[in-house]
Symmetry: C2
């Protein structure tokens, strides 16, 4: 149910959602100032009582046989996973690579998935883009306007002018790659000038890009000590933390070091461990169970702090 006056929909002030109850009450107040990305991020984490981001890294070969003959099996699977995991998720992260592997048909599935995601979760396009200014402008249009993502991941290597187009709208967020979850993070991200590493340099630079309160960082759960260091540099930047599922990162430590004093400020992504929890026809139940367990483990880790 949406109570609104046309032209006045400005900010969601209340979302009620319980486990097993995906009904939503939204009340829009006309004339309110638009939430910036930080406010929206915090609001969603508060009202979903979850730090879980579900990663939709969908590959055809892992979709249960009954869905493979659908017109758009990628979207059919995503829809089923979203329906099953929505009570437990604060955010969904859709990695563009898995869709581009199917060319324009994959892009259609990507668009359909973003259209299907409800407004009360954070919709993240994990695209890791970045190019010179006039080109990044096109990527920002693709991800924020065509897909209508709430946030994107951006590779900062090309510097200030390459990221500026992603930061123009204060309601849209950008998570910059800072210290990634993979082994190759060692190659360049730890490169040091003797006093600080490149990943620290990135965190410091992102703070200067944060004029509209819409910057965040990607920090892998596979580096909990460095996550603590990054939190010291950037105490209030929202974090997107991949690597807690199949990649084997440290869930407890990365929650303890990542969250703010309210127990929010960071989301933790799991993809394969949730969406492929079962390859059989019970995949929805298995995904729901895995999502619930992961949300509960994340919330339990908050208590240890």
């Amino acid at each position: 149910m949406i109570i609104t006056t046309p032209g006045q929909a400005q900010g969601v002030i209340g979302i009620l959602r319980g486990e097993g109850d995906t009904q939503t009450l939204k009340i829009f107040i006309g004339g309110e100032k638009r939430m910036n990305f930080y406010e929206r991020f915090d609001h969603i984490l508060h009202h979903t009582n979850s730090l879980l981001c579900v990663g939709l890294d969908t590959v055809v070969e892992k979709i249960p046989p009954s869905l493979r003959h659908e017109d758009d099996p990628l979207f059919a699977f995503n829809r089923a996973i979203i329906d099953a995991t929505l009570p437990y998720a604060a955010a969904y992260k859709v990695n563009t690579a898995f869709y581009e592997a199917h060319g324009h048909a994959g892009w259609r599935a990507l668009e359909a998935t973003f259209r299907y995601l409800p407004a009360d979760v954070l919709k993240i396009a994990d695209a890791k883009r970045g190019d010179i200014g006039n080109t990044s402008q096109m990527y920002a249009k693709s991800l924020f306007s065509v897909l209508n993502a709430d946030a994107v991941t951006v590779n900062p290597l090309m510097g200030t002018d390459s990221v500026a187009p992603f930061l123009e709208d204060e309601t849209k967020g950008v998570f910059f790659l800072c210290l990634t979850s993979n082994a190759g993070a060692q190659d360049f991200q730890y490169f040091s000038d003797g006093t600080r590493t490149l990943y620290e340099c990135i965190a410091e630079k992102v703070l200067t890009w944060n004029e509209r309160h819409n910057c965040g960082l990607v920090v892998g759960a596979t580096h909990p000590q460095q996550l603590q260091r990054i939190r010291a540099i950037a105490p209030s930047l929202p974090l997107l933390v991949p690597g807690i599922g199949a990649q084997g990162g440290d869930l407890e430590k990365s929650v303890q070091f990542g969250i703010d004093e309210n127990g929010r400020g960071a989301i933790y992504n799991s993809s394969r461990a949730i969406i492929y929890a079962s390859g059989g026809e019970d995949f929805q139940q298995a995904a729901a169970l895995s999502a619930k367990q992961t949300r509960d483990a994340l919330n339990a880790a908050k208590m240890i702090k």
Copy 2:
């Protein structure tokens, strides 16, 4: 005319092409070893007698009015530009951002453009991708198998495992971002450990990734002195040099410092200065003239060396 025996098409050994004469003679010899990317790159530069890469950064607003009502105006424009500039080009670089800005319809135009590009020029997908291993595998599939690009640009920030999937096929090339043409290159690419900068560290690392002779570097023409330094580190890696057109890079110096002893080894990209040489109905003639002048300027710069 193609002379070949089915199943034996292994390597183009001869391409004849003159200015204003886009006919091609290809002779395939059965049983020949497949050319690796370096051999193919060198072969194409030799036989086209050109160092010019034409960048297809196509935006609808700049397409001449007569093409805007075509079913697929992006592709219609690209086809016309390719037809006009083919006598002068060694390579075409298609930047994915400009197509993704139109969602799945843009991806259709991207696919059509790659299908239309002839086999005797280098087809580069400028996508600047890079992600953890299993995800980069999907991007490699998208760019090399779906688009059938001969080469791609890759952002190396995430390190070895993130780039490995792009390097599996020795016939396909990867140009790694090393020192980009934009102002923001200063932010991180010049970060130094006291003895070397990040861009030098990247060039050194790429040499270790080059087991299959299919690695290259992206070095902007806006940094000619640094290009010379990079050439000292990596004397034989193919270079993709953007920034000689609208971005105002130094064409002469970047040719002198970039080419090898045979006057090859590097290609120079111009996008806007060629494809938008005229916004009127004479756009094909203007693009052809601009491409010819740029090719000639590049070849003239070789002579100064």
